[in-house]
C-alpha cells in the first residue's frame, strides 16, 4: 500500500511538473508576462561567452535566456524544427541547409574565434609556420622536426631530430571544420584528399576527444603538434605558433589579430562567409565568426510579437553593448564595419511585414 501511495504521488508530482512546464511556455508565447524566457541552442564554442552575456542581459532587461550548448548541427536542427527562438552555429549554414529550412534564416555574428597550433618541443622554442609547412605536417609528408622545410622558416632555432606526432580531434567538432577549411584553401592536396568537415579521414596522427584531450596529449607527448581553440590555449597558457598569412606576414594569434581578420573589403552583405586565410594584412589566418541564427520573418507559429521583439533586442544588444564581454573571456570583438553590417541585417528581420528593430 505504502509503495502504491509513493508511486502515485511520484506520478502526480511528475504530472504537475509537466503541466507547469506547459503553462509557462504558453505564457511565454502569449507574452505580456514579466518572466519572459527565450530559448536558444547550438554551438558549444561560444557557450562561456553567451552565458556571461545572458546573465548580464537578465540583470539589465529582466529577460531570461536559456541557452543549450548541444553543438552547431543540433542547434540548426532545433531552429529548423522551430523549437527554439534562436540557433547558434560556428560555421555558416550551407546553401543546402538553408534550402531545407522552412523559411529564410539570417546570420548574425557575435564573436570571433580562432584555431591555434600548439606543440611540445624541448626548450619551448617560439615557432613560425608557413601554410605549406603546416599542410605538409598534417598531411604526414613532413615527419621530422629537423626537416629542412621547417628549419627554413625558423632560422636560428635548433630543431631536434624528433618524430612529429600529429594530434587531432577525434570527436566531430567546429574547431576541426575551421582548421580543415583553412587547410583546404591553402593546399590543393588537402582540398582533394581529406577535404573539410567536422570529422575527417586524417592522413596522419592520433585522435583525442575535445580541446582538453588534444592539449593533454600534446603536453604529454614530446615532439607532438596539435590544434585547439584560441580561448582554450590562452586559458591554459599553451605554446602557440605564428602563422604566415596571405599578405606574407607572420601573425601571432591574439585577440587583436583575430578581430583584424574580419576587417576585409569584400565582406558579403549576409555575412555568411569563411574568413580563414583572410586578406587582411594583420589578420590571423585561422579565424572565424560564430553566429546566432534567426528566422527572417519572426511571425511563425503562435509566436507573439513581444517574444519576437525580445529576441531581436537581445541579439542587437549582443552585437553592441554585449561586445564588452568578448575580450575578457578571450573571444575576438567584432570590428565596427561588421557590427554595422550585422545591424543592417537585424533591421531586415520582420514581424508580420513590419521591421522589429527600432532606429537607433
Amino acid at each position: 500500500m505504502k509503495t502504491k501511495l509513493f508511486f502515485l504521488s511520484t506520478v502526480a508530482a511528475a504530472f504537475m511538473l509537466v503541466s507547469c512546464g506547459g503553462n509557462s511556455t504558453k505564457q511565454n508565447n502569449n507574452g505580456g508576462s514579466s518572466e519572459l524566457t527565450l530559448l536558444g541552442a547550438g554551438a558549444t564554442f561560444p557557450y562561456p561567452l553567451y552565458s556571461k552575456m545572458f546573465n548580464a542581459y537578465h540583470k539589465k532587461a529582466g529577460i531570461q535566456v536559456n541557452y543549450q550548448s548541444i553543438g552547431s548541427g543540433a542547434g540548426i536542427q532545433q531552429l529548423q524544427n522551430k523549437t527554439v527562438d534562436f540557433g547558434a552555429s560556428d560555421a555558416p549554414m550551407s546553401d543546402q541547409e538553408l534550402k531545407s529550412s522552412p523559411a529564410p534564416i539570417v546570420h548574425i555574428p557575435t564573436c570571433l574565434g580562432a584555431v591555434v597550433i600548439t606543440y611540445n618541443l624541448p626548450n619551448e622554442p617560439a615557432l613560425k609556420f608557413t601554410p605549406d609547412v603546416l599542410a605538409g605536417i598534417f598531411l604526414g609528408k613532413i615527419i621530422q622536426w629537423n626537416d629542412a622545410r621547417i628549419a627554413a622558416v625558423n632560422p636560428g632555432i635548433e630543431l631536434p631530430s624528433m618524430h612529429i606526432s600529429v594530434v587531432h580531434r577525434s570527436d566531430g567538432s567546429g574547431t576541426t571544420y575551421i582548421f580543415s577549411d583553412y587547410l583546404s584553401k591553402i593546399s590543393a592536396e588537402w582540398s582533394a584528399k581529406p577535404g573539410k568537415g567536422k570529422s575527417l579521414n586524417w592522413p596522419a596522427g592520433l585522435g583525442a576527444k575535445g580541446n582538453e584531450g588534444v592539449s593533454g596529449l600534446v603536453k604529454q607527448t614530446p615532439g607532438s603538434i596539435g590544434y585547439v581553440e584560441l580561448a582554450y590555449a590562452f586559458q591554459n597558457k599553451m605554446q602557440v605558433a605564428a602563422l604566415k598569412n596571405k599578405s606574407g606576414n607572420f601573425i601571432n594569434p591574439t585577440l587583436a589579430s583575430i578581430s583584424a581578420a574580419a576587417n576585409i573589403d569584400n565582406m558579403p552583405k549576409d555575412l555568411r562567409v569563411s574568413i580563414t586565410n583572410t586578406d587582411a594584412p594583420d589578420g590571423y589566418p585561422i579565424s572565424s565568426f560564430s553566429y546566432i541564427l534567426l528566422y527572417k520573418s519572426q511571425s511563425y507559429g503562435d509566436r507573439s510579437q513581444t517574444k519576437a521583439k525580445a529576441t531581436i533586442d537581445l541579439v542587437d544588444w549582443m552585437i553592441h553593448d554585449g561586445q564588452q564581454y568578448n575580450e575578457p573571456l578571450k573571444y575576438g570583438k567584432l570590428p565596427e564595419a561588421v557590427v554595422k553590417k550585422a545591424t543592417d541585417i537585424l533591421k531586415t528581420v520582420i514581424y508580420k511585414n513590419k521591421p522589429l528593430l527600432n532606429e537607433q
Binding site: G71, G73, D171, G172, S173, G197, G207, Q220, T221
Partner: protein, 302 residues
C-alpha cells in the same frame, strides 16, 4: 461454523488473487524487456536503412571511413573492437581465475576475504571515465617509456594501453561470478578427493576447475560483453585513428568509441545512418559472441 468456513475461503481466494496478480506483473516485466530488445534492434535497422541500401555488405569489410567523401567502411573499428576485447580477456583471465580461487577456496571467510571482496566491488563501481583518466595520466607515460626503449613511435596511447585498462575494468565481473561458482562446488567432491590423498593444488586443478568450468566461462563471457561495449575509457586511450590497427602498440579505434566521438556533430543522412549501422553491427557482434558462448557453456556443463 459455516460462517467461519466462508471467511476462510474468502481469504484463500484473496491470496490466490494476489498470487495471480504478482505472477502477471512479473510476466509483464519480462515481456517488456524482450519487447525493448526487439524494438532497439528494429530501430537500429530502420535508422541504418540508407547506408544498408547504398553500401550493402561492403560496410562491414571496407577499410575507408571518410565522412567528407561519404565513404563508410567499419572494418578498422570492427578489428579494433575485437582485438582490444580479446586481448583484455587474455590479460584478465589468469588474474581473475587466481583471485577467484584465492577467495573461493583459500579464504572463504574472514577479514582478508572481506577486504578483498569490497575492493573488487569498488573496482566495478568506478566510472569508466576515471579509468580513462588514470590510464591517460599514469599508465600512458609508462607505456611511452617502454615504447621509447623499444624504439617505436612513442604514442603511449593505442591498442596495448586500451587492452590493459579494459582488462582491469572487466576483472571484477569475472572474479565475482567465478568466486561464486567455485564456492558452489560440492564439499563432498572435494572431501572425497582429499580422502584419496589428493593435494590442494590437485583438488583445484582436477576437481574444482573441471566442475566449475561452465560457470567460469560464463563469467569470462560476461566480462567480454562489458569490454566490447566499453566506450569512454577506450576513447581516451586508443588513439582514435581511422586506419586498421598496425600492431600491438599502434593506435586504432573501436565501434563504440567512433559512435561516441562522431554522433553529436554528425550531419547528413548518410553519415548519421552509417553511425547507426555501426551500432547495429556492434549489436550483432555481441549477439553472435553470446550465442557461441552459450553453446560452449552447454558443452562444458556436466
Amino acid at each position: 461454523m459455516n460462517n467461519n468456513l466462508s471467511i476462510g475461503l474468502n481469504s484463500v481466494r484473496k491470496i490466490d488473487l494476489k498470487e495471480k496478480g504478482f505472477k502477471r506483473s512479473l510476466l509483464l516485466t519480462a515481456i517488456l524487456l524482450i519487447v525493448l530488445l526487439v524494438a532497439i534492434f528494429f530501430t537500429l535497422v530502420a535508422g541504418s536503412m540508407p547506408t544498408i541500401k547504398a553500401l550493402g555488405f561492403s560496410f562491414v569489410y571496407n577499410k575507408t571511413w571518410d565522412p567528407v567523401a561519404n565513404q563508410f567502411g567499419a572494418s578498422p573499428f570492427l578489428a579494433g573492437t575485437l582485438l582490444t576485447s580479446f586481448l583484455a580477456l587474455v590479460i584478465a583471465t589468469p588474474f581473475s581465475l587466481a583471485v577467484a580461487l584465492f577467495l573461493g577456496e583459500y579464504f572463504k571467510k574472514g577479514i582478508i576475504s572481506g577486504i578483498f571482496k569490497n575492493v573488487i566491488d569498488l573496482l566495478a563501481a568506478i566510472p569508466s571515465v576515471i579509468y580513462g583518466f588514470w590510464g591517460l595520466f599514469i599508465m600512458v607515460p609508462l607505456v611511452r617509456q617502454l615504447e621509447m626503449k623499444l624504439n617505436i613511435p612513442p604514442y603511449g596511447v593505442g591498442i596495448f594501453s586500451t587492452s590493459v585498462i579494459l582488462a582491469i575494468m572487466i576483472m571484477p565481473y569475472a572474479i565475482s561470478l567465478s568466486r561464486q561458482v567455485i564456492l558452489m562446488v560440492p564439499a563432498e567432491l572435494k572431501e572425497a578427493a582429499y580422502s584419496l590423498g589428493a593435494t590442494r593444488s590437485e583438488v583445484i586443478m582436477k576437481i574444482i576447475i573441471p566442475h566449475a568450468r561452465s560457470g567460469l566461462f560464463a563469467g569470462i563471457l560476461l566480462a567480454l560483453g562489458r569490454a566490447l561495449g566499453e566506450t569512454m575509457a577506450v576513447t581516451m586511450l586508443i588513439g582514435n585513428t581511422h586506419d586498421l590497427p598496425t600492431g600491438l602498440f599502434g593506435p586504432g579505434n573501436t565501434m563504440a568509441s567512433v559512435i561516441a566521438n562522431e554522433f553529436t556533430e554528425a550531419t547528413g543522412k548518410m553519415y548519421t545512418s552509417a553511425l547507426i549501422e555501426m551500432g547495429l553491427l556492434l549489436f550483432v557482434v555481441v549477439t553472435i559472441i553470446n550465442i557461441i558462448g552459450k553453446k560452449v557453456i552447454n558443452r562444458f556443463a556436466l
